[in-house]
Structure formats: C-alpha cells, structure tokens
Symmetry: C2
Subunit: 227 residues, 2 copies
Amino acid sequence: MTTTGAGRPRLTTRKRPGATAREEILDAAAELFTTRGVTSTSTRMIADAVGVRQASLYHHFATKDDMLAALLVGTVDATLACAQALRDAAADAPSTLYALVWFDADQLMTSRWNLGALYLVPELRSARFEQFRTRRSDLMALYASLSRDALVDIGTLVVSEELTHLPFRIVESVISARSDAESTRHSLATPDTIADAAVRVLGWTGSTASLRDTATTLLAAARPVSR
Amino acid sequence: MTTTGAGRPRLTTRKRPGATAREEILDAAAELFTTRGVTSTSTRMIADAVGVRQASLYHHFATKDDMLAALLVGTVDATLACAQALRDAAADAPSTLYALVWFDADQLMTSRWNLGALYLVPELRSARFEQFRTRRSDLMALYASLSRDALVDIGTLVVSEELTHLPFRIVESVISARSDAESTRHSLATPDTIADAAVRVLGWTGSTASLRDTATTLLAAARPVSR
C-alpha cells in the first residue's frame, strides 16, 4: 500500500527523516535491510515504506544494490574525512588514534540504523560494492598505520603487525554489541571505553585522561571539516 | 545435478568431510550459507553440493533453518563446554579468562567455515534460533562474570560493567578479521594476541607470559572434557 493517490504529487507529510527524497529512500532501505535482510527486501517494499511509487524510486536509484552501496559508503565516509583532518593536525600518534577511535565508535553507535551489521553478508563480495570495500580498506590501513606509530610512541617492545589491526577490530565490535543490545539489555560501551581499549591493547598502561583531553581538542577542530 | 543414480544407494566416494551423512549435509550447508548467503541458498543447492537427492536431506533436517540452527549452536558449544571445565579447575580469574579467550579465538579462526559471519543477519531473530541465541547469551554472561573477577584480581580501580563485555567482543572480532583476510591479505591475529588484548583492556599491564603458561596447563586438562 502506498499513501499517495495514483498520478498525484505527494501532499502528505513525510514518513521518513531526511531533507530530500533521496535521503528518505535511503532511510527506508536501511531500516528494511537491517531488520529483514537484504535478499528479503524488494524495491516495492522500500517504495511502500517511503510512501511513493516504485517509479519514483528508480528516478534516484537504478537498483536495490545501488541503495545498499550508497548506505555502506556512508558508514565509512565521515570517519575517513575525520582521519584526514586528524592527520593534518599532526598531533602525537596515541592521541590521534584515540580521537579517531572515539569518533568512529560514536558514529557507529549513534547512526539511525546499524548498517555495519551488513558488512559480513556474502552479497557484498560482488563488484557492485567495490567502492565501499576499497574505502573500508583505506580506513583499515589508516588505523593500522596510526597504530604502528602509536606502538613506537608508547615504546611497546615488539611492534607486531597483527597488533596494529586490533584497534580497527575493537571499533567495529561496536556493531555486534549494538546488535546484541536489543536482546541482552546490556548497556553499550561508551566511545571513551572503546578508545581506552584501543590504546590499552597497544600497550598503553597509564591513565588515558591526557589522551582523552587531547582527543577532545583535536575532534573539536576536525569535526567541521568532516561534515 | 546429483552424482547418484535415481533410486540407487550412493556408491561414489564422499564429496564432503564428515563421518556421517548428517555432517556432510551440514558442511555443504555451511559452505553455501557463508559464500552465497542464507536466503539465496535452497535445500536443492545443498542436496546438489552433497551429491544426494533432496528427499535424503529431509531425512536429517526438516528445513533449511534446522541446518542453520544446528550449525550455529555448533559455533558456541565447544567453548561453553570448555568454559565449564575451566571453572571447575578453579584457577585465578585472569588465567582462566586467558585460557577461555585463547580456546574460543582458536576455534573461531580454524573452523572450516566462518559461520560467525552469520551472527548478525536479521533472519536469526526468529524463534527458530532461540536455542542458539540463549547459548550465545550464556557464553556472553560467562565471559562477563570471569572478566568481573579478573578486574578485581588485577586491581583495576573502577570495575565498570561495560568493561566486562569487551573480552567477548574482542574474541568475536576474529570473525570479521577472518572475513576480511580473504580480500586484504592481512595475516590473522594469533590466539595469543587476542588473549593478550582481552586482559590488557581489563587493565593487565605486565607481561602475559605467566598467564599464557597457566592457560596452556588449564587447556591441556580441560580439552578432553570439551570434546
């Protein structure tokens, strides 16, 4: 069922958050993909959830996969921009890493739909999602490079390659925590706790208060750039 | 295409690892679920991959979801048994946690198919997967309880509830690392690194060599029980 009369412009109030029709469509698609699954969602269902006809949908996205690709890229783009701004600020590596982890964990926790829950579905291996996979790999590499610098700064004796991948993994664990939180009623970790964990696994042993202070300052400067 | 003649017992060599027909079916289902997705896999495809007719499949499993449920329970059962054996051994909490993380990370890394990649699919919210969800919740609670004891043992000043959930998250991050390893060519973290990370986030600052030694002894004693 759609809420619009045949052939008439939509006069009802919007059913969905989003400044544009494109954003409304993406919001509806995100809800259906994360609650019903990608394969079980049809463009017809998405059109119904927005309250428009399928033809209007195709004006913005040629296929369901195009919507999914746009949504997935959206989960990493703000963090990539933040990472760039943080690198330009050229602060010490542990504080920079702390700030990046904080920002990323916060956005993964507070985004309207938990789209990261779709990262592991086999469908994402197709060519259509190349751009998303590349950007997520870029982000992964940025985390690893920052973690390598942080290990040296911290003075951890053995700079093992595998250790440099853990902060990224700890950030993304927010996705599965958020998914489980619905059923387990566990409170989600705060971004502070996730950022603390990311530096502790690299060997940071003291208080993290100074890292947090520097990170707060860095993010206050970096945020306008990332929007 | 099946490799068996109509109405004849199968004489060809087995296409799949597994001591029984049931195990062969589960292996084929696991491969298809993790490479094609659950919704895109039909029981017909599973029958073809085993090399039997669909009717033979239904002799073992009434539905595709029954196969998925059995596979998912299999991802947590060995670790639950290990956790029970470790608790009976009554060693100190940090060593016990270290051993549990090591065992769980190892089995998630080395299982033939990366079934954990299916944990977040929306389909698992249905009643059919209640048993799996309950067991995974039990495991999560065991991790949290052990982590709480470890925090006290370590002498971490603030025993925050959210901190007690991180070791479980760090273990499960192995799933997404393994999924990404196919495309990024990153080497997977060893179980040692994952276990180190789990105690470091709880505030363990010294060497982890003694924990590893005790954990090795504990696991040598616990393993026969968990099989």
